[in-house]
């Protein structure tokens, strides 16, 4: 895989993973 392929993979996965963690961390924090 080319370096820019790795870059897009890391950015793509990073974005959706961060969004996922952000949302569920908030939900757990609210504790409902």
């Amino acid at each position: 895989m080319r370096w820019d392929g790795w870059l897009f993979l890391i950015l793509g996965w990073g974005f959706v993973f961060s969004l996922f963690v952000f949302c569920f961390a908030k939900i757990l924090k609210k504790g409902k």
Binding site: F8, L11, G12, F22, I27
Partner: protein, 533 residues
């Protein structure tokens, strides 16, 4: 009057909504679209469409559904009628009942193929078929498209389809918290576990045949992620990315509104809605993109995988994957996991797609839950039968094109207009601004935004206000017109029925007539329901 149902737990709601969104498309359609449309560069229009169109529409649908639920309206027919005071609004809204119904009529058949193939994997029925053309024959004979030594009739497909309908009816007949929520709590974690197991298996395959060092999982990932920037100037790529966001989030089907109508009036929409989209994106981009295409490149090489991807999503899932599973130790087990995963993704979506029609029967015609579920089952069976028997005549393709593409975007456009502009009509009428269009521009989305932010557990950035008010309608019009243009200029135009002749033509028109008939019938039911009210 039946007592109004509610979600029992928040996690159940999130899983059910995520189950609605996560479908076959996450595992079959997404990796194919990404690979065919510029690889990593596809992710630019993809995330652009997610942020500027997908998430705003998802929030509109959640807020619309919750608002309707306060007044006992679970379908877009009732919700449009509440938000846009007009005699005809409920008829526009009624397509939010007919679209998911038409969708689920053909979707349950595709879902049943997954169940059947899970069984075939476990019993190793397709084991021994080692080349694409024979595996394709296996699929075609199973579907009744051709007859041969694997299957002489469509009977087996019919049996699995009936089992799938029965399962759907049983689940929706048990209600929101007792059926759909329980299914989501079981099926979604299992789906995630199965997907993670498969991804780990794919990533540990490496280069399965040392004679072909190019055939590796890494090259498969490269096929999906290496960016081809020249594709970014291609309008079709932007259209494909927006289309993928549409299908993957299940927006424009009317099912999110029905699920959201079972929220309590101060329940949060903003964070919970975003969580379901985030779950869907996690499953699609990370898990969905890491199974079928990478493993296909590892076993068949890039050129063959490109040819398979060109053929279509089903060739990837139902022809290429069964061949690969035979090459793996415990392949029957991984095959079963793959097809069960697809089945779980399918059934959590099909129960959601059934829910608007179910709600209409239950809440407007005062039918008991079980009776309403049986009627849904009867409709799925009656209108699904021609799909099973006339598959080879392009019957299903007509449904998929008109419902799965054009009407989804039309409903999304209508609901955006109702939520942004129709809902603000009282403010416009009480203002002195003339002409009225300026008043609509000034007050548009004021009520909708307030409704969305009620009980919100996150602060929605103001940017989304402008996205909902201006960008989403523009995006949807471009998408709708773009799809029309793309089809009309294609040598295989579905609208103009190009390249279709003889018997096929007749069946395509029967499919179209049936779809129009169902849309009109739901419109009439809507009229009766409101007259009785």
């Amino acid at each position: 009057m039946n007592e109004r149902e509610k979600w029992a737990t928040r996690i159940g709601l999130v899983l059910a909504m995520a189950g609605n969104a996560v479908g076959l498309g996450n595992f079959l359609r997404f990796p194919r679209q990404a690979a065919l449309n510029g690889g990593g560069a596809f992710m630019i229009p993809y995330f652009f469409a997610l942020i500027f169109m997908g998430i705003p529409i998802m929030w509109i649908e959640w807020a619309m559904g919750r608002y309707g639920g306060q007044y006992g309206e679970s379908t877009t027919a009732g919700q449009f009628n509440l938000m846009w005071k007009n005699k005809i609004s409920k008829y526009f809204g009624s397509i939010g009942i007919s679209i998911p119904l038409l969708f689920v009529i053909y979707y349950t058949y595709i879902e049943s193929w997954c169940l059947a193939y899970a069984f075939f994997s476990l019993t190793q029925k397709y084991f021994g078929i080692s080349d694409m053309s024979h595996m394709n024959s296996f699929l075609q004979q199973f579907q009744g498209v051709e007859s041969g030594s694997f299957f002489s009739t469509v009977l087996i497909a019919l049996i699995f389809w009936l089992i799938t309908i029965a399962l759907n009816v049983w689940i929706i007949g048990r209600g929101i918290s007792g059926g759909i929520e329980k299914l989501a709590k079981i099926a979604m974690p299992l789906l995630l576990i199965f997907a993670v197991i498969l991804v780990l298996r794919v990533f540990t395959i490496g280069t399965p045949d040392p004679n072909y060092p190019d055939r590796s999982v890494m090259n498969g990932l490269a096929y999906i992620w290496n960016p081809n920037f020249s594709q970014l100037t291609n309008f079709a790529v932007w259209l494909a990315a927006a289309g993928q966001i549409f299908f993957t989030l299940s927006i424009g089907t009317g099912s999110i509104q029905t699920y959201a109508s079972y929220l309590k009036k101060d329940d949060d929409c903003a964070l919970t809605g975003l969580s379901t989209s985030a779950t869907n994106e996690f499953v699609e981009v990370i898990l969905g993109g890491s199974i079928a295409i990478p493993i296909s490149v590892a076993f068949f090489g890039l050129a063959t995988t490109q040819a398979i991807a060109q053929q279509g999503s089903f060739d990837l899932g139902f022809v290429a994957m069964p061949i690969i599973f035979q090459k793996l130790p415990f392949g029957f087990f991984f095959g079963m996991l793959w097809f069960l995963l697809l089945f779980f993704a399918g059934i959590t979506s099909s129960v959601a797609l059934s829910s608007p029609f179910m709600a209409l029967l239950k809440e407007k015609f005062n039918l008991k839950r079980e009776k309403a579920a049986l009627i849904v089952g009867l409709v799925l069976f009656s209108f699904g039968l021609p799909i099973v028997f006339f598959l080879k005549f392009g019957y299903l393709d007509q449904y998929d094109f008109w419902i799965g593409m054009l009407l989804l975007s039309l409903l999304a456009l209508l609901e955006t207009i109702v939520f942004v502009y129709g809902f603000s009509k009282p403010l416009v009428e009480s203002s002195n601004i003339k002409p009225k269009i300026f008043a609509y521009l000034k007050y548009g989305l004021k009520n909708g935004w307030a409704e969305l932010n009620k009980g919100a557990e996150i602060k929605i950035p103001k940017f989304f206000f402008f996205a909902m008010k201006y960008v989403v309608p523009f995006y949807l019009i471009v998408l709708f017109v773009g799809w029309l243009w793309q089809d009309l200029s294609s040598p295989k135009s579905m609208i103009l029925l190009k390249g279709i002749s003889g018997n096929e033509l007749l069946f395509c028109w029967i499919a179209r007539g049936t779809m129009i008939g169902i849309i009109i019938a739901i419109g009439i039911l809507t009229k009766i329901a409101w007259r009785e009210k």
